[in-house]
């Protein structure tokens, strides 16, 4: 990861969302991107040049563009047409972004285009976030990491975020993933947590 002082950045063509540039690198704002926030508050998973990433909930392609700066290829899945228009614009300018308009809860829709990946990243606003992540582990290579951005308020607004947090860890563990890091993204994102898991052999 590229740190300039205590600023996280990525090297690539700038101007995607009017991001600040610093010494020719694009500043990756932790307040805008949950993945950046994870690198600020915790450890996360280092993005390296030969990584293949499946990115669920790509939205406008803001975080996607930073991930794409680091890795070989990003398969970016997004369901809604409006953000997809922006994501397409990002894809037209970056050779390693594969835009896929599909429902992350239905991996069979994009199974014919996605290969086995080294990192599964998920940031979807759905109540069954853990189940979606588990279903998509079919694309994840053995021993490779899953980063789940848990939006506790999307799971259930009436439940305490801490309860949702514990429940999600339980679900992921039951599915045979080992949770290696689980951390709240405060102060960057309220009621959001990041969970880093590892796919164990035979799952």
């Amino acid at each position: 990861m590229i740190w300039i002082g205590d600023v996280l950045a990525s090297k690539g063509e700038g101007g995607v969302y009017n991001e600040r540039m610093l010494g020719g690198a694009r500043v990756w704002d932790p307040y805008r991107s949950k993945l950046s926030a994870l690198y600020h508050v915790g450890t996360g998973i280092d993005l390296v040049a030969d990584m293949r990433v499946l990115y669920l909930g790509a939205a406008n392609g803001t975080t996607v563009s930073h991930v794409a700066d680091y890795v070989e290829v990003v398969y970016a899945v997004e369901f809604a047409p409006r953000p997809m228009q922006d994501l397409l614009e990002v894809a037209r300018r970056r050779k390693n972004v594969m835009p896929i308009m599909a429902d992350a809860a239905r991996p069979e829709q994009y199974a014919p285009v996605v290969e086995a990946v080294d990192l599964l990243y998920q940031d979807v606003a759905q109540p069954d976030q853990a189940a979606i992540a588990i279903r998509n582990c079919a694309f994840l290579k053995e021993g490779c990491p899953l980063i789940l951005m848990l939006k506790t308020r999307s799971v259930d607004v009436r439940k305490e975020p801490e309860d949702v947090f514990q429940e999600t860890i339980r679900l992921l563990t039951t599915a045979g993933l080992s949770v290696t890091e689980s951390i709240w993204l405060a102060p960057y994102h309220a009621d959001h947590a990041a969970m880093v898991c590892k796919k164990l052999p035979g799952v």
Partner: protein, 316 residues
């Protein structure tokens, strides 16, 4: 893979299992027992084909890009990715275009613009009235029954040339645009939601659509939900506390609801919502006006508003 084998016990023959080994169909072609048939066609065609593929996620093994090389689709990784990206972009563009092709999509934007224009006009009218009062300390709106738009007109005429007059003129212009847009929304709603519009008018029908999100979602709403669409605060106050349940939401804007005597309003709203639920389904699944339904429904709603306390007759 044995074509007739099903997941689980291979000795049992399941007649309903898919008859092809679907696992092997990828975006670049079909791989079967080591042999590969590349897909012939451009990115568009490939994208269309990808959408039609049905992959089973049981015992799923992700594709290996080197199969594409073996298939003769590409020579190396770079070419693989560039070809795949063309297919992905074509597919996503197609999907975006399709999701905007629905005839309700634009209507949704139109009615939301209309409602926001109303908000803006009200806000600005109040503001210029306040401004005008500062300029004319003796001016008061009390005891004058001047409608807001007439007040704006007066302000424009009396403060010609200045910024205040210009703002007032702009408000009038927005109001003009708003009137034209309202007509267009109404006409469009009559085309998109013919049955619903026939029952409550184009504008209110369009607002129902706007709240539901799409014609497909509106058609799937139960009548009880349609009855209270737009009464969110009241509904949640009711669910949380002992507050009475809301009788009506947006449909209150329809004359037969707000003109009904207080005691009957809830009933009219309920009957109207029941008929609207049917109308929305006709609009979605049939797409054209059904005169017999509209006539019968109108009669039923009118009856709900007139009969005394619902004694006798057909149950409500």
């Amino acid at each position: 893979m044995d074509l007739n084998s099903a997941p689980g016990d291979p000795s049992i023959f399941y007649p309903c299992t898919p008859y092809v080994s679907i696992m092997t169909a990828y975006w670049f072609g079909e791989v079967e027992a080591g042999a590969c048939t590349p897909f012939e066609g451009d990115a568009q065609a490939a994208a269309t084909r990808v959408r039609s593929l049905r992959t089973s996620m049981d015992d799923f093994i992700p594709l290996d890009w080197q199969q594409a090389v073996a298939c003769g689709v590409c020579r190396d990784r770079t070419e693989y990715l560039s070809k795949l990206q063309k297919v992905c972009i074509a597919g996503a563009e197609l999907a975006v275009r399709e999701s905007y092709a629905g005839k309700d999509v634009e209507l949704l934007q139109m009615v939301r613009t209309l409602d926001e224009m109303d908000t803006v006009i009200n806000l600005l009218s109040e503001r210029v009235a306040d401004w005008y009062q500062v300029r004319h300390p003796s001016f008061s709106r009390k005891y004058r029954r001047t409608p807001a738009h007439q007040l704006v007109k007066t302000i424009r005429e009396r403060s010609r040339g200045g910024a205040l007059g210009n703002v007032a003129r702009e408000i009038e212009q927005i109001a003009e645009t708003r009137t034209a847009l309202a007509k267009e929304v109404s006409d469009r709603a009559c085309a998109v939601l013919p049955n619903t519009s026939a029952l409550i008018g184009g504008l209110v029908a369009a607002r129902l659509l706007s709240c539901a999100g799409s014609i497909a979602k509106l058609a799937r709403l139960p009548a009880s939900a349609i009855q209270v669409i737009g009464a969110r605060t009241a509904l949640f106050a009711h669910l949380r506390t002992q507050a009475p349940s809301p009788k009506h939401g947006i449909i209150f804007q329809h004359r037969r609801v707000h003109n009904a005597p207080r005691a009957l309003r809830g009933r009219v709203a309920r009957v109207l919502a029941g008929k609207l639920a049917i109308a929305a389904r006709l609009d979605y699944y049939r797409g054209s006006a059904v005169p017999e339904f509209i006539l019968a429904a109108q009669a039923r709603i009118d009856q709900a508003g007139t009969e005394t306390a619902g004694k006798g007759g057909e149950p409500l």
